[in-house]
Amino acid sequence: MAELSYRDAVARGLAQEMERDETVVLIGEDVAKAGGVFKTTVGLYEQFGPKRVRDTPISEEAITGMIMGAAMNGLRPVGELMFSDFLATCWDIVTNQIAKTRYMTGGQVELPLVIRTANGGGSRFGGQHSQSLENWAMAVPGLKVVAPSTPADVVGLMAAAIRDPDPVVVFEHKKLFAIKGDVPDGELVDTLGTARIVREGTDVTIVALAAMVHTAVEAAEMLGGLGISAEVIDLRSLVPLDTRAILQSVAKTTRLATVEENPRLVGWGAEIASIVAEEAFWDLDGPIVRITTPHIPLPAAGELEDLAIPSVDRVVDAVTAMSR
């Protein structure tokens, strides 16, 4: 057991898989010699050499298109998009090509590839470098979607994503890069599609993802002091989605809140809320509440950005209000 930062956990997960399987390769802008702009790939170039860890031009369509082609011809490539916002620059390759090719070819093509990307706000980078875009990927049939909240999950879910025979988008949260956590020694391989109950509770279920898990847990602690027992679920992956964990929890607590960093409309919280409103309607004892960033681009100034992204206080207030 070693303490590791979330940032270092990315490199550790990648290194673990690159060591065991030489078809695993990594490409992206500044991922090699520089070790990544977020220092998430430090040491990989030195360990695995220029053939397996390669810097690319600023050509996101080429990066994603190339990993698709490479995955069609015997590699298990990992492509880095420096910021998740840049998914938009290669969205056709991701959605129309990578996501659909297996289905459209009647199952002929397997695409064991991973797109890693730095996601989320809180860094005062402004509207084009701060988005939480897991919901974009979730909306596309054929993509698996992972967003870890802890260093240990980063390692295990990265390994699972790389070993997965289908395309997986791994959202690494920028605000979490510096956090530390215990990571077990030895090989770690997690399972996609398994949520984790981070904190048990009986009055209300709070579903969260990535950085919002930490917000939700802090809020749950405060809610405890107010006499409200909140269960916090870390989804960990959106596709596959562990609906069983959610439905079981709601059956127990009878109340549901979701905490999302993405803007208001059609976020993953809406999907969870809709699933529960359809399948667990009779379990519910009150309205489902979604706590989200408002439907606005993210502002740069710290005071504004902090207001926009769901805070511990906002979660506490909303859950208190719904529990009355």
């Binding site: 996101e60 459209m104 009647g106 049939p141 989605l241």
Partner: protein, 327 residues
């Protein structure tokens, strides 16, 4: 360097098979048996033949919605291609792909892509994997003149050039995009060749209606790729006999231009050349007859094939064979 007569007959056969296949596809479309849309490569067969014939079995072909001929010439079974156009259960993609997405991975036909430009980086990626694994494969990517103006073209050709990838980018310049002439939307004469220098590549133009000429250029580019000398960007001048897709009559094209190109039919030219060089007309007749019989059989087989079973709607989104996104 004389091309062997069997090779040349293989090209003739390939062109004729493609021609008959696509003519039939057109007829079936007009009869309502091919649904949706279909983009024919009638008139462009020499490009497909010249590149496909010298390929090795594990080489990889990437093409577009106008990809019937390329897929067929890599060896995909004609029955299954026809079935795919007709949306039948014998379809090469089980009916899920349709005319624009013909794929036969077992034959190196790595897919037909219907978003302009997207497959160029994919083809480059396949070449990268070949380079990485040392497989000696080449990846060949076909696309149209209009495709040279989309961003993915630029990104892919640059990256392939910088990484010295064994990929051949083949621009089939048929002078038109859908209904607009390529000359209206570029500031150079040759959409691909006049861009090659931007990637440190040679300017290569070939008569795309001359199978022998295409073959020579293809072989040279394959050698270069296999020798580790990197990609080629080749512009093949050709013409589509019909409109862009479906029932488009192609009226935006001057009559004289169409006539001129119909006179330069790649199959007619090649037949004449082969016979004038001593191939017995009967040999070519036999090839034609066999092709026609093959098309008839494929049509029959596909007509008799049932529509896809409803159960397959939900298969093959994922590697586990299913489409479940939840537990």
């Amino acid at each position: 360097m004389e091309t062997a007569v069997e090779t040349r007959l293989a090209m003739y056969e390939g062109m004729v098979r493609a021609r008959y296949f696509e003519k039939r596809a057109y007829d079936l479309f007009m009869q309502g048996l091919v649904k949706g849309t279909t983009h024919l490569g009638l008139g462009q067969e020499a490009v497909a033949a010249g590149f496909a014939v010298p390929m090795k079995p594990d080489d990889m072909t990437y093409c577009t919605y106008r990809g019937h001929n390329h897929t067929l010439l890599r060896g995909a079974p004609m029955d299954d291609l026809m079935g795919e156009l007709m949306g039948r259960s014998n379809g090469i993609c089980a009916g899920k792909g349709g005319s624009m997405h013909l794929t036969d991975v077992t034959k190196g036909a790595m897919g037909s892509y219907a978003i302009v430009g997207a497959h160029l980086p994919v083809a480059a990626g396949a070449a990268w994997a070949a380079q990485y694994r040392g497989t000696d494969q080449v990846s060949v990517c076909f696309f149209g003149d209009g495709t040279t103006n989309i961003g993915a073209f630029h990104e892919a050709v640059n990256m392939a050039a910088v990484w010295d990838l064994p990929v051949i980018f083949v621009c089939e310049n048929n002078l038109y995009m859908e209904y607009t002439a390529i000359g209206d939307v570029i500031a150079v004469e040759h959409p691909a060749a006049d861009r090659a220098s931007a990637y440190g590549l040679d300017r290569i133009i070939v008569d795309g209606n001359d199978a022998d000429a295409v073959y020579e250029v293809a072989v040279a580019s394959y050698e270069r790729a296999r020798a580790g000398e990197g990609p080629s960007l080749i512009e093949a001048l050709t013409y589509r006999h019909k409109g862009h897709s479906r029932a488009d009559p192609g009226k935006y094209r001057p009559d004289a231009e169409v006539e001129e190109w119909l006179r330069r039919d790649p199959i007619d030219i090649y037949r004449e050349r082969l016979t004038s060089q001593g191939v017995a007309p009967g040999t070519l007749d036999a090839i034609e007859a066999a092709a026609l019989a093959e098309v008839d059989a494929a049509t029959e087989a596909s007509k008799n094939s049932p529509p896809p079973d409803p159960s397959i709607l939900m298969t093959d989104v994922w590697a586990d064979g299913g489409s479940s996104w939840r537990n």
